[in-house]
Symmetry: C2
Subunit: 348 residues, 2 copies
DNA sequence: ATCAGAATTGGGAGCGCTTCCAATTTTTGA
DNA sequence: TCAAAAATTGGAAGCGCTCCCAATTCTGAT
């Protein structure tokens, strides 16, 4: 294997200066078409590829973006959520000429917060994308911004939204839509399986949901809220507690699909008919909601689009640093998907 | 924000030469403990971080590994498989001081094969990890190796295994184990939903399965094989075809869990009792197999471990280039997990 | 023709690090 | 005690690219 050609080899072959080749490579202005072609030909003939490392060093920017995922040690929570987000981001990056690098961090380890900050400080990345619950860690967000590192928060709560660019759905409105649906179906007695603490957008869903109940004249006694951790397992366990009582609710709302799937399993185990005995809803509309039986009524969240939008937002900010950035919409549309896991309250 | 400190700042502060700092940073030999401490102190005081770009340029290696995932345009096949593999690889990379970069490619686009080769040629990555079906594209594998780029194939077929280091389970044996289980349960009439063409390891599973049938004296007329594409949807559709006939099989074997989940849905829709009317099995033991009802009998494939092992294999090869590499086991253990989707053939 | 101004090219200084090699100091062995 | 070997340091040359700035060539309006 002979040595890789460098920009100087291309320059020599094309009979121009290195600077000119660089211009062509970067689509710079002020190069005659004739010269441009000559250089392009030389590039093709030599099979030249720019050395990304050298380019990064010289230009000071790496065209790499880091995506921070939260993963607990052993749980594999929300795999569809993570991979959907990543896939969307990956494609958007490819389109924009950036490379996406995924990093995982454990939200319960404090040292990992430090690691994320180091990522921002390191200058290795042109920007960071933070997912929940990191996108709601205000100190973290401030620290990253303080180091001058471009940042976009995915599904962040209102406070984070004040600090940094963000993308997400209107979680409150989504929760409200779900609440409206269920109250219109005649339900008056609910349970809600929330997500982990510090996941503000999940909290907003609950907020919106109770808002809807209040509009129907219900108060907080109409709903029992318990805290899960977004995993299937926690859905299984918490549902056992919720559905095993005498006076069980007629509708169980879960902060994501995985927990709803777990609740479904428990309901089956208890011999309950769904949706006749209990309506169950999820959130996200990941493939899980169609895999289970009966398929879940849920809120469709365009996760891939969220990932793509985050990248666009970030790249937009990077490229127009200082200037009036072309504003990308932060809100992405959601909608309720009615499937077979919900029905009218037969007691109403 | 003041400028980032460089290695020269550290050297100046510690009162040594840049070379010495470099040695300390890279845990090189021949530095007195006293000096080492002095340098470490200076690093800490300045909050110095090495500039990865510069290091890469100077050292010629990036300590970055690329993981190639196959993703069809719109399908989100095997999300759990991909993210499990990635998570395992990610953690192993972090441990080894490498960075993992995921790239997606569309197996039906020929230009994407070219892109993968360019990744290998580019010298940007110290090595590549190929997943199916790319790990079975012999031309691709040869091209990558030909460019001198270290490579590990995940779940590759026998031919690829001849060409490059690999990790995977013994798919043939796994298929055989499943076949043995089902024949012992008295089943004699099977259907098999295979994976996409060119996914050799899925083919090996079928091979092993039929081997088991043969040992029971059954021949190829005992099994009907159809080709799916690993998605839930294809499971739904193909199962309709398989289960809708008069003389339907008593056991349906699927090349992955997603398709089995789809088959399960179709079976429900057709009003079949599972496992009384039909036994259904998956493959991989992704979370899907516990989410569906009834939970799937399947083959547990330690996917995260596979990802981690791939990285270890690759890094081992990179670091001991030329030398007798510390051989990492290519085979990872699998085992059959019996859940509720299978039962004895009641007609037997 | 003539010349200001724009467009196009090239020269060369780094970007921050690793690494070869030479210089210096310390250790070892008779 | 002293030379030879080993351990420790430093000097300096790049790695391959971008980008500032100066040099050159080309416009078009006088």
């Amino acid at each position: 294997m002979t040595k890789k050609p460098t920009i100087d080899d291309v320059a020599a072959r094309a009979g121009v200066a290195r600077t000119t080749v660089s211009r062509v490579l970067n689509n710079g202005p002020n190069v005659r078409d004739e010269v441009r072609d000559k250089v392009r030909t030389a590039v093709a003939e030599l099979g030249y590829q720019v050395n990304a490392q050298a380019r990064h060093l010289a230009s000071g920017s790496s065209r790499q973006i880091a995506l921070i995922h939260a993963t607990d040690t052993e749980a594999e929570p929300n795999s569809y959520y993570h991979s959907g987000l990543e896939l969307g981001a990956l494609r958007a990056c490819a389109e924009k000429g950036y490379t996406l690098v995924t990093h995982t961090a454990n939200p319960v380890k404090e040292e990992d917060d430090r690691r994320i900050i180091d990522l921002a400080r390191g200058g290795q990345y042109d920007g960071l994308i933070l997912t929940p619950p990191y996108s709601d860690r205000l100190d973290l967000v401030r620290a990253i911004i303080g180091h001058g590192c471009p940042l976009v928060c995915v599904s962040a709560g209102p406070e984070s939204q004040q600090l940094a660019p963000w993308v997400g759905i209107d979680d409150r409105a989504a929760g409200e839509a779900l609440g409206t649906l269920l109250t219109e179906l005649g339900h008056r007695h609910f349970a809600y399986i929330d997500g982990i603490e510090g996941h503000i957008s999940a909290g907003m869903r609950l907020q919106g949901f109770t808002d809807a109940l209040e509009k129907t004249g219900l108060d907080s006694t109409a709903i029992r809220v318990v805290r899960g951790n977004f995993t299937f397992k926690s859905g299984v366990e918490l549902a056992a507690d919720i559905l095993g009582v005498q006076d069980r609710p007629t509708a169980l709302v879960c902060a994501n699909d995985d927990m709803a799937a777990g609740a479904l399993l428990t309901a089956h185990t208890l011999g309950l008919q769904i949706p006749a005995d209990i309506s169950i809803t999820g959130f996200d509309d990941t493939p899980v909601s169609e895999i289970v039986w009966p398929p879940l009524t849920t809120v469709h969240q365009p996760i891939r689009q969220l990932g793509a939008r985050a990248v666009e937002q970030l790249v937009g900010g990077i490229q127009s640093a200082g200037e009036p950035r072309a504003s990308v919409d932060s809100y992405v549309a959601f909608w309720v998907v009615e499937r077979l896991s919900t029905a009218a309250n037969r007691n109403s």
